[in-house]
């Protein structure tokens, strides 16, 4: 394993796969390498292949614009799970040459340099071997960088350089201050940042501030962070670091070297905790203060899933509850995890283990993501050592912890605590009834009262089914009905002469409705309005639906939402 953390960073090898989200997406779709590919989140390009880049596609472009620059562009949605799943073979390939692999995020692994460098006889030799081996074993291109410390090593890997021992501050000095933000981008949804040219310098990095990391960039942030209350305020990832970089830039500190030249005392007293951490990084020191320590064994959490986990969805559920337990234990001790060991044991006694590293503190959702990714990586097994049986035991070992004041609960047990409590209760009910039994409504676009609601399992991504911003002609004005029947109730609507009421092709009522008959009970109409015609998908012969909605108030002041479709009336909802 890696040497114990000291103030002088450990010499580290970083292996970086350029454009990883694109590589993973293309591999998953089985696309050949000459096809231009872009991965898109929130309608913005977050990564593109070299072929697409040659046509002018860049990160941050709108999808439409990217397609106009490169007409043959294959656009794929971002999927952190997929990125992680396809990354496992690369990890295995690196591990077979150098022990002690730690995954920084899908696309980047780091490994202590001392052993392999001595074994293979030199920095360049190791780098060459790794590039060859990863290409041969995993079929993936990668770049290797060697420097003192993880931060510098990852930056070196992006440039494909080997920084001589002790030369790290000199290597970091001239780099753009925006680099502080990019490597911290360990959140899954914001996939590995890619550069216009891997060898590019500060000019390419300058876009760091402008890349799409606005609030919604993390596709899961809504649901995933709900239960965990607030995101860790003292954490390093997220907009906090972007704000810091922006601030430093405005202060005229444009390079890491300029920031590093500030006295530590002044940085600590003027910036939040994250600023001090960033300062250490810029100086080429180990990001964690020397107090980071090996955790006592009782922090390890373990679960024996019953029934044993063999499917990815079951793995996700096990991951979630286990991650929460670990997070709870750590929070209780006022600690946060910076390196997480995930260990699994199968029914045939196989032992699987993998270490994930995070520059900042892992939140409950972060831990859960990583455990899920790892389990998916193992279970979907694109590598030779796929487990031969289901996982019977799962263990999370916090291999390195730091004091974390940012996770303290509010003094009066504010929203954070009640949110955690609520979340625990809901998770328990999910355990009793299954994850799909506990839902939360997400409102979106649509015309009918039922269409506008999408029920998503608790803690899943809160994305509406239909675009709420789009115009929805035929949508009824507020207030919405308070009771929406899960199954519409058949009804009859008659006019004064007892004839059924219909709607003409020009959306005119054949006669004013006089009676509504539901379940054999007829009630007189006191007031009515309509039709609100709905012509859905008229361009698609099979999916096309023509409906007309009516509001009626019948005897007893009951207001109903009626819908007429194909000559039949239904009660869709009740205003009660």
């Amino acid at each position: 394993m890696a040497a114990a953390p000291r103030d002088v960073p450990v010499r580290t090898i970083a292996v970086w796969c350029p454009d990883w989200p694109v590589v993973a997406a293309a591999a998953a779709e089985g696309l050949p390498p000459h096809v231009p590919v872009a991965v898109v989140a929130d309608n913005r390009v977050i990564a593109c292949s070299a072929v697409a880049r040659a046509d002018g596609v860049r990160r941050g472009l709108r999808r439409r614009e990217a397609q106009s620059r490169c007409p043959g562009l294959v656009v794929l949605p971002a999927d952190p799970d997929r990125d992680a799943r396809w990354f496992e073979p690369v990890v295995v390939a690196v591990e077979s040459l150098a022990p002690g692999v730690e995954i920084v995020r899908p696309g980047v692994v780091v490994v202590p340099a001392r052993g392999p460098v001595r074994y293979f006889g030199g920095d360049e030799a190791v780098a060459e071997r790794l590039v060859d081996h990863v290409a041969g074993q995993a079929g993936t291109e990668c770049q290797v960088g060697i420097a003192d410390g993880v931060f510098a090593a990852v930056l070196a890997a992006r440039r494909g350089v080997v920084v001589p021992a002790g030369g790290t501050p000199g290597f970091l000095g001239p780099l753009d201050i925006g680099e502080l933000d990019l490597p911290g981008e360990a959140e899954g949804g914001r996939a590995a940042p890619t550069r216009a040219h891997p060898g590019g310098t500060a000019t390419a990095t300058g876009s760091g501030g402008a890349h799409p990391r606005s609030g919604g960039a993390h596709p899961r942030s809504g649901g995933a962070h709900l239960g965990s209350g607030r995101a860790h305020p003292g954490g390093t990832s997220g907009s906090g670091r972007a704000d810091l970089v922006d601030l430093l830039r405005r202060l005229g500190l444009r390079t890491l070297g300029a920031f590093a030249a500030l006295p530590t005392r002044d940085v600590v007293s003027r910036f939040p905790a994250d600023g001090a951490l960033a300062h250490r990084l810029a100086r080429g020191l180990d990001p964690r203060p020397p107090s980071a320590r090996r955790p006592p064994p009782e922090l390890t959490v373990e679960v024996e899933p019953d029934p044993p986990v063999d499917r990815v969805d079951a793995a996700a559920f096990a991951a979630r509850s286990l991650a929460e337990r670990l997070h709870e234990v750590l929070t209780h001790h006022g600690l946060a995890c910076t390196r997480l060991g995930i260990e699994a044991e199968t029914a045939h006694g196989e032992q699987l283990a993998r270490t994930w590293r995070h520059e900042g503190a892992l939140t409950a959702a972060d831990i859960s993501d990583r455990v899920r990714w790892q389990l998916e990586g193992w279970l979907t097994g694109r590598t030779g050592d796929r487990p031969t049986a289901e996982v019977t035991r799962l263990r999370l070992v916090p291999e390195e912890v730091v004091e974390h004041a940012g996770l303290q609960l509010g003094l009066w047990g504010g929203l954070g605590e009640s949110g955690e409590r609520a979340h625990r209760a809901l998770t328990r009910v999910q355990g009793m009834l299954g994850p799909e039994a506990v839902l939360t409504p997400v409102l979106g676009g649509g015309r009918g009262p039922a269409e506008q609601v999408r029920l998503v399992p608790w803690r899943d991504e809160r994305a509406p089914a239909l675009d709420p911003a789009a115009p929805w002609p035929g949508r009824l004005p507020a207030p919405a009905p308070a009771t929406v029947l899960p199954e519409p109730l058949a009804a009859e609507v008659r006019d004064e002469s007892g004839e059924p009421v219909g709607v003409t092709g020009r959306h005119a009522v054949t006669a004013p409705p006089h009676l509504v008959v539901v379940r054999g009970k007829s009630r007189e109409v006191r007031a009515w309005a309509g039709p609100w015609p709905v012509d859905e998908r008229w361009w698609d012969g099979d999916a096309a639906r023509r409906r007309a909605r009516f509001q009626v108030v019948v005897e007893g002041e009951t207001a109903l939402l009626l819908v007429l479709e194909g000559g039949r009336w239904w009660v869709e909802a009740i205003y009660d």
């Binding site: 009640s418 409590r421 328990r428 207030p479 029947l485």
Partner: protein, 241 residues
């Protein structure tokens, strides 16, 4: 720590038996009462939803949403069990925060166990399908709510509720003979219960209120057809003292 709460609660209960209006403010100050809309507050003897109490709602989902809205907006977590017909759009329009609203539409055969588990963490638990619950289960759930400091809101008939709210004399506005659309409904909300709530109270209000008013959380003078509050019987407000 929850056990301590329960003990404190029973003490507050005993105090409340003597002087309901006087304790209302004190209870609110100690966060024992979740807020409700100003129009509903006079109907509730504690001026809000007292933690640990059972408040049954009958016959109107709009009333249910109106009851939850203020607390939900203020950060309370609500769960709705066994109500697959819940109109989430209407709930959101009434002011219920959907990101803190959990639904268990099909709780399976053991509704009571699910509701009990939810009361460990949720502030308000709405329980549908009450007819299928036995009286003993009902008592157990009410006791659980008391112990956990949650508010149990059975939607439907319920024996032994601290308070029962129901809607009568509804009158819809905004819909004509072939024109207009439903805007708001004027109803009389009646409350009757036990102990401090034994005196029946009622108030006339808009449920649902016309669009725009609900967002403000009040039923002030309406736009167009109706104005509220019309009148309250009897006029008794917690803040009078």
């Amino acid at each position: 720590m929850r056990v301590g709460d329960a003990a404190g609660l029973s003490l507050v209960d005993r105090v409340r038996q003597g002087a309901a209006p006087a304790t209302a403010l004190a209870e609110r100050a100690t966060d024992r009462v979740l807020p409700v809309r100003p129009s509903l507050a006079p109907l509730l003897p504690w001026g809000g939803l007292r933690r640990g109490s059972t408040v049954a709602v009958e016959g109107s989902a709009s009333l249910l949403f109106a009851l939850l809205a203020e607390a939900s907006e203020a950060g309370a977590w609500c769960a709705v069990v066994g109500l697959p017909a819940l109109g989430a759009v209407a709930a959101a329009e009434a002011g219920v925060a959907t990101e803190r609203l959990a639904l268990v539409p099909f709780p399976g055969p053991d509704v009571a166990a699910v509701a009990a588990a939810l009361m460990d963490g949720m502030d308000v638990v709405v329980l549908g399908g009450t007819a299928r619950l036995s009286a003993a289960d009902g008592r157990r759930l009410a006791a659980r709510a008391r112990q956990r400091g949650a508010v149990l809101v059975p939607y439907g008939a319920w024996q032994g509720a601290d308070l029962e709210l129901s809607c009568t004399e509804g009158r819809w506005h905004g819909l004509g003979a072939g024109h207009g659309h439903l805007r708001s409904r004027e109803v009389t909300v009646r409350a009757r219960g036990r102990g401090a709530a034994s005196r029946p109270r009622s108030a006339r209000m808009l449920l649902p209120a016309a669009a725009g008013e609900s967002a403000a959380g009040s039923t002030g003078t309406g736009t167009g057809t109706a104005t509220t509050p019309l009148h309250r019987v009897p006029a008794q407000r917690a803040k009078a003292g």
